[in-house]
Point group: C2
Chain length 142, copies 2
């Protein structure tokens, strides 16, 4: 049975997961999807990226989404949520605070930063956030 997830369960899934897929729209009108690590504080989803096509696309069209999911080992039961919102770059002093939280949360998943030590912040890294405007969730159970 496929059914909608209520807001509470959707927020819970977002909180529990730390990786998902970021969706944005390229200037060509094409959708673009990339794997990302994220941190969710209950209101904003924080992300980081090096400069490039993705960042330029989000500056031009700030409509973005984050999709996260959880699946049972057998693949039969799953939950998936999509958080929709706007891209907004995070500037100092908050940028350093958010990056410090990333280093703590992903000691192994941000290997470059982890290797360099928690005090090191790559000069060109961009921190941004998605403030959730709309949240949809779906689940399938048997």
């Amino acid at each position: 049975m496929i059914r909608k997830l209520d807001e509470r369960s959707s927020l819970e899934l977002l909180r529990k997961k730390k990786s998902g897929r970021l969706g944005c729209v390229l200037p060509s009108g094409e959708p673009y999807v990339v794997p990302v690590n994220y941190l969710f504080d209950g209101e904003h989803i924080h992300l980081h990226s090096l400069p490039g096509e993705k960042i330029e696309a989000m500056k031009a069209n700030p409509n973005i989404c984050l999709q996260a999911q959880e699946m049972s080992v057998d693949g039969f039961e799953w939950q998936s949520v999509i958080a929709f919102g706007k891209y907004r770059e995070v500037e100092e002093p908050n940028k350093t605070k958010v990056l410090t939280r990333f280093y703590k949360a992903f000691p192994r998943f941000t290997p470059v930063e982890a290797k360099l030590g928690r005090e090191y912040i790559p000069e060109n890294v961009i921190v941004f956030r998605l403030k959730i405007n709309r949240l949809t969730g779906t689940e399938e159970h048997f």
Copy 2:
């Protein structure tokens, strides 16, 4: 070291994987990302869906993408590809052929169809394909 994947390796990853994320653009201009199972024959990526918001969005704006990835157990090494193309619905008699391939490929991952038996085709299921216009791949190795 993060670097581009060449076309051969990108195609190889697409062939090896059977699940990924479908990206499309909603009429509101927002990106939309959902987990999907797919079949890739070297040219087209075949997918299926029940009718709904996603199908309506792709009919209105046929720009879609499929993102697939592979990650090492420790999360340090990964490959990710994005295949860009256009939504096109698959009609009979090809629709039945594609669905039959889905039933064979996903005996456990399409539980509704598997339960109902391979001969059963839900009347309202939609089969569509993405013909790859552009393929980008990225990998990180240490």
